[in-house]
Amino acid sequence: MKKSTWIIALLALTFAGDRLGGWALGTIIRDGQFRYSKLYRSEAGCDILFTGSSRGLIFYQPYIEEKTGLTTCNLSYNGLPVDLAVTLLKDHLDRHTPPKVLLIEVTMLDKRMNENLMANFNLYAPYSERLSTLLKEKFPKVYYGGEVSHLYRYNGEVFQRALYYWKRPDKDWLLDRVISPTMIANVTDQPIFNFDFTDDMLKQLAEVVAYAKAKGVHVELVVNPYYPPFAATIGNLGALTAAIEKATGLPVRNYATSVTDQEGFGDYQHLNKRGSRFFIDKLLEDGVLPAMEKKE
């Protein structure tokens, strides 16, 4: 093989493989059951919509659907930063009949959320102008990298999850383990935990709340439960909720210490299925989640 032929063959094969692979993976992802795939297929319509970080994942959907008789959709993701959450929420509201209730778990207003997660959402950029704009602004190299190499769009954990949920629903995505004895023993050694929130985060939250309300959605802001001894180490939860209430004009329902059953936690910040069921019952009691309508 001549050298020039060899180089051309390499370039052609690399490019063709990249486009073909990108197309194949794109097809798989687009047709999958993962929450964001359904969102961008406009098939994620529901009565109750949730969002938040990993702490928003503890809204155990099968149990909520069983108890309320309503359909649910959860846009939460581990470490979801506010600006990405807002983008996904607006896309959801624009593409579906507005839900009856929107529950936002507000402890994602923290700089510790995973800003880099946004880069993982590059695989959905072709389907959302809003997401593309956000990526161009925050991660231009990642966005344009995905334009050069279509395979590169699938470089990240979100793709792996989307692949995992290709043929199966993701509604029971919830950590189901019990907090370890070592964690329980070490909880008193934990340093003071403070939320590091900014005015911009508050502004974005207020904006999306107003956006949802304008579409007739009832919005609830909640703080999900923490392992109570850990909750005692949080320094400024009150300051966070006060700032949110001021920015949004809505009350924040604080359930930080509402679950005391040790067996109901997977770790300090997350309920397991057992704890989630208990918490959901509480939300139903308090009317945060709509109760099942009695059939005539």
Partner: protein
């Protein structure tokens, strides 16, 4: 400048065509200038250390060859060693020994008022110091003639592909290669590029994908279940292997493109059936350096069993200390010394026992490989931990078996990706025994095209592009 950065890609895109355009001294000047630029990109002030070491060793080498008697040569060698090891000792170990001294005095009830200097460690100092020392020691031993051309010598010391993290190439292997200009050679460029791409895959796809999980577990081991700590240790064994051997592959590959042959630095070390075999497969350029310039001069295995063990222990402990100014590295070296001693003491008995039990050869090999890998991982725990207390937390966490269940595996997708990538690595390394990919790349153009394209696709999907530094830069 690091290999996995945009700056480096631009550097290489300019350097390579100009290098092959130039001939003779102009090319050497470019190689030296490029090497200094490559190093100075990190911190130009520390270039002065390389220049001083280069100049002193160059002059001492010439003087040594002219010295009439052995004592005069020895004095000159001492000057070289004091200067090179002095720089290394000051920049790498001054703060460490000061802190350790203060701790020791405090344990005796004293409160000394001693301050550390907060010295910055110059990148690659351990590598170029050993490389440069091999030159003066070999001249002292009359195994090498001094290099009369300062430009060639300076390029040998600072050659950019292996300047900051090896392999440590001996003067006797490297300097003769400067005697002629190397024209561009298509086959060398192809096999070099194959090795560079494989090195990048190991670094940006495998090592950097495993790194966050390992980092999390070692930062706070008490917060993680036994199963996660176990995964973290196994992942670290592959992270450090892929990180370091990836760097070596890139360095050796670029050197080959430029016309130079460097010896292999890694040969599937985790398939070693004994600890002595491990050290002929892991960081070969360092282990052979330590053997030739430390273990053998100490007496090697020539003065009885007790002395052999003493020499082994000393070599391994100093080899550990070479890696970093921390007791964790010293203990890592100590453990490997113990492994080698124990192997010498009971290795034969263990082998005889397996033969007596009529274990098939393949089973004997598998047991040996598993044992070596297991104990190597124990040592890696100390190597990776920031201090001895953390290492013990990791070991206790694993041994306690608390939460050793699949349900407790955190971030399963990261783990799954890690398993997939290490599986790919092992599959390639195992099949490479049978089909010798290097030969296939050269002989089958279609295979070459396909393998290059596949590696590029895999890097696009699995690569981490945050310009993460190589682990061995800190050494």
């Amino acid at each position: 400048m690091i290999f996995n950065s945009l700056t480096f890609l631009i550097f290489v895109a300019i350097f390579l065509p100009v290098y092959f355009k130039l001939k003779g001294r102009a090319r050497l000047l470019l190689a030296l200038g490029g090497s200094y630029l490559f190093y100075g990109w990190w911190d130009w002030r520390f270039l002065s250390l390389i220049v001083i070491s280069t100049m002193v060793d160059f002059v001492l080498g010439l003087k040594m060859s002219l010295a009439k008697d052995a004592p005069s040569r020895k004095k000159l060698l001492y000057v070289s060693m004091v200067l090179n090891l002095g720089f290394l000792g000051f920049f790498k170990y001054f703060d460490f020994f000061t802190e350790s001294f203060v701790t020791m005095l405090q344990s005796l009830g004293l409160s000394p008022s001693v301050h550390t200097l907060g010295i910055i460690l110059p990148v690659g100092i351990s590598f170029y110091t050993f490389q440069s020392l091999s030159y003066t020691i070999d001249i002292y031993r009359k195994k090498l003639s001094p290099e009369p051309d300062v430009l060639k010598f300076a390029t040998f010391v600072a050659f950019w592909p292996q300047l900051v993290a090896g392999p440590i190439v001996r003067a006797s292997d490297f300097l003769p290669q400067f005697r002629k200009d190397h024209d561009f050679n298509w086959n060398r460029a192809m096999s070099g590029t194959a090795q560079v791409l494989w090195g990048f895959f190991k670094k940006v796809a495998i090592a950097d994908s495993l790194a966050p999980f390992v980092e999390q577990c070692f930062a706070e081991p008490q917060a993680f279940a036994s199963v996660n700590l176990t995964i973290a240790v196994v992942f670290y064994s592959f992270q450090i292997y892929c990180d370091f051997s990836g760097y070596s592959d890139i360095a050796i590959g670029f050197a080959r493109i430029l016309g130079f042959d460097f010896p292999a630095n890694f040969r599937t070390p985790y398939f070693s059936r004994s600890f002595s075999e491990f050290w002929t497969r892991w960081h070969i350029s360092l282990s052979s350096w330590l053997r030739d310039y430390l273990y053998i001069p100490l007496g090697g295995n020539r003065h009885g069993t007790a002395n052999t063990y003493k020499n082994l222990m000393l070599t391994m402990v100093l080899g550990g200390l070479w890696h970093g100014a921390n007791w964790t590295f010293v203990f890592w070296g100590f453990l490997h010394g113990i492994y080698l001693v124990v192997q010498r003491l009971w290795g034969h008995t263990f082998g005889a026992m397996m033969r007596a039990l009529r274990f098939p050869k393949i089973l004997q090999s598998t047991i040996n490989i598993a044992l070596v890998y297991f104990f190597t991982n124990i040592a890696w725990i100390f190597f990776r931990s920031p201090d001895l207390a953390t290492a013990m937390q990791v070991i206790n966490g694993i041994a306690g078996m608390e939460g050793f269940a699949f349900v407790n595996v955190m971030n399963k997708f990261v783990v799954l990706k890690g398993v997939l990538l290490t599986g790919m690595l092992l599959a390639v390394e195992i099949t490479d025994f049978k089909w010798d990919y290097g030969r296939l790349v050269l002989q089958k153009p279609a295979f070459r095209v396909a393998s290059f394209a596949v590696l590029l696709w895999l890097i696009a999907i699995f690569g981490t592009f945050g310009s993460n530094a190589f682990i061995y830069f800190q050494f």
